[in-house]
């Protein structure tokens, strides 16, 4: 069953907002709901959208300076004393640079520290490859105890932020810089660990599993494919870990072929996680949309999404090959 989505989703003037903005809103709400919530940022308070929280809760906000590694460990210490710390920077540096601190101080100790990685994906644009995190899903999902959420729009990011503040698990939330279309509504259900059907054609031949900023492209591809006579189902996998195994297996059984879509390296990413499930439970032909073992580079977000084969047309080609 498809969940209710933005009625303007297929309009050319669909509203747009950066996914990171929803995180900023959600963090303020989480802070109001629970005074154990604290936040720390590494000299990127506006960029990572922690500024609203810093303004409303100045005592519970900590400017860490450019110290991503130490911040992860400091957050672990705060969590040990009962706080629910959110740490933010660019995804490349947190969890990128601070990976082992997160592994040992946070996941190994099973502390409820929440890592918010902004500017994930090549859609960071002109800053170039050094700033485009396309490995963060792989390096976070590989750690025991870690939960990995990848919201598809700013509204889902807000709900995910609120939800993760309520759990006792180390959690990574993946955020993007650019404005992207609003797909969901305030009423679209969100639950950590649950995938949702966002699009369905009659007689689906290929299941598309998408996450984060590319869910929109996946839906648009599904829509066009439908008009061209190829039926698909698009599943939004808002949580990469723990993955909604039931939904993934059911989709593979119904469609018989799966295309995964993520703004991330194909190696180790969400698609790999899907393959890990299906190869054991229900071996299925798959294709992987994502970065094919390359670094990012400077360019506009659209140029880069197209160059690395993650645009709507690339998704359509992959689906047609499998259908």
């Amino acid at each position: 069953m498809t969940v209710p989505l933005n009625p303007k989703l297929f309009d050319t003037d669909v509203e747009q907002a950066p996914i990171r903005a929803g995180f900023g809103e959600g963090l303020v709400l989480a802070g109001r709901a629970d005074e154990r919530v604290v936040a720390m940022c590494c000299d990127l308070t506006e960029s990572t959208k922690m500024d609203a929280f810093a303004k409303e809760f100045p005592k519970r906000f900590f400017e860490m300076g450019i110290m991503e590694q130490s911040s992860a460990s400091v957050a672990s210490g705060m969590a040990a004393m009962g706080k629910i710390p959110f740490v933010s920077s660019y995804a490349m540096f947190s969890p990128g640079r601070s990976w082992e601190q997160i592994r040992t101080n946070i996941c190994y100790n099973d502390r409820p520290v929440k890592i918010a990685g902004s500017h994930a994906g090549v859609s960071v644009g002109p800053d170039g490859g050094t700033h485009q995190a396309i490995e963060d899903i792989a390096i976070t999902r590989v750690m025991p105890n870690m939960v990995v959420v990848t919201p598809c729009d700013s509204i889902e990011a807000k709900k995910a932020t609120l939800a993760m503040a309520k759990t006792n698990s180390p959690t990574y939330i993946r955020l993007a810089r650019e404005k992207t279309p609003i797909i969901t509504t305030e009423d679209t259900p969100f639950e950590i660990g649950k995938a949702q059907e966002f699009f369905r054609s009659a007689n689906p031949k290929v299941g598309i599993i998408a996450c984060g900023s590319l869910v929109y492209n996946a839906i648009m591809a599904g829509k066009e494919l439908e008009a061209e006579g190829t039926g698909t189902i698009v599943l939004n996998i808002g949580t990469v870990k723990p993955m909604d195994r039931t939904a993934v297996i059911a989709l593979a059984k119904e469609c018989g072929a799966i295309v995964t879509v993520e703004e991330h390296q194909v190696a180790g990413g969400m698609g790999s996680a899907v393959a890990e499930i299906l190869s054991v439970e229900h071996p299925t032909k798959m294709a992987f949309i994502g970065v094919q073992d390359l670094f990012g580079q400077s360019g506009t977000p659209l140029e880069l999404i197209k160059h690395y084969g993650m645009d709507k047309d690339s998704i359509k080609v992959a689906v047609k090959k499998l259908s």
């Binding site: 000299d43 300076g65 450019i66 130490s70 002109p126 170039g128 580079q297 160059h307």
Partner: protein
């Protein structure tokens, strides 16, 4: 390297002006990028590429060259513009900054521009690489090596713990073939450095880690050249030059305002900036006229 005569100083100052113009033009064209750091470091980069460095723009892999590590990669507009004016590649190419397919990536990437000594952008990692280069140089050439490794650092960048690890190692190894230059412009992204994460007393800290410390006005060509001369003459320690600079130097609207750390001027601001650049207005063609 020889002492600066007045006519050389004037020449360097005029070069710096050209380079500032190129930086502003490139940023306007790119529509993104960093303004404050590059303009603040222009005088130093000019002194390096037009007087201090042992290098050959036509032969960038020359083994005898000094090595330059830009640790604060986000100020690459000044590196690119200075290298272009020094003859490494056409000045025209600066217009491609940050665009798809460019060699001038938003942060330096060696794979695209192999004449760079390293790639950077993620802060805090340059000094360690420079220490590695200096150690290797000493292994190959011994104590009397004629090559110097220069590492440029931001002041906010010094928040990163890895910098202090590299400082310790360089101090223990007494790497006199290593010179660090800190852009002490007092800003980082979230505000003034002393509010975000106080660094002072900064000289004492470097000294305590075994470094010879020099503090200069980073806009005074003579002071820049003299400081490097002194640094190279110190035989028992690595040296650091703490260069006091004005972020956004040359354009009043950009100066000393951390909001210009990572924003480019738009078309109109760029045009105003180009018109304002001091010498253009005929105000101070050179302080040494």
């Amino acid at each position: 390297m020889t002492h600066l005569h007045d006519d050389k100083i004037k020449l360097l100052e005029e070069k710096a002006l050209e380079i500032r113009k190129s930086i502003i033009e490139a940023l306007v064209e790119a529509k993104s990028g960093h303004t404050a750091g590059p303009l603040g470091m222009t005088d130093i980069f000019t002194a390096f590429y037009f007087h201090i460095l042992k290098h050959d723009p036509k032969n960038p892999t020359w083994e005898e060259r000094d090595r330059v590590v830009l640790s604060n990669g986000h100020i690459c507009p000044v590196l690119y513009a200075t290298m272009a004016h020094a003859g490494y590649f056409p000045v025209e190419e600066l217009k491609t900054l940050r665009k798809f397919g460019t060699r001038l990536q938003g942060h330096p990437h060696r794979e695209y521009l192999p004449m760079l000594e390293t790639s950077s952008g993620p802060l805090g990692q340059g000094l360690s690489q420079a220490v590695g280069m200096a150690l290797a140089d000493r292994l190959d050439r011994g104590q009397n090596s004629n090559r110097t490794v220069y590492c440029f650092l931001g002041d906010g960048e010094l928040n990163e713990g890895q910098i202090w690890e590299a400082m310790m190692l360089a101090g223990r190894e007494k790497l006199h073939n290593l010179v660090a230059i800190v852009d002490r412009n007092n800003i980082q992204i979230d505000g003034f450095t002393e509010n975000v994460m106080p660094l002072e007393p900064l000289s004492d800290k470097w000294r305590a880690f075994g470094w010879h410390v020099l503090e200069i006005d980073g806009h005074n060509m003579e002071a820049i050249v003299d400081a490097v001369d002194e640094a190279r003459a110190i035989f028992e320690k690595p040296s650091v030059i703490i260069a006091h600079t004005i972020p956004g130097k040359g354009v009043e609207m950009f100066e000393n305002d951390y909001k210009w750390h990572g924003n480019p001027p738009n078309q109109e601001q760029g045009a105003n900036a180009l018109a304002e650049l001091r010498t253009l207005g005929g105000q101070i063609a050179s302080e040494h006229e």
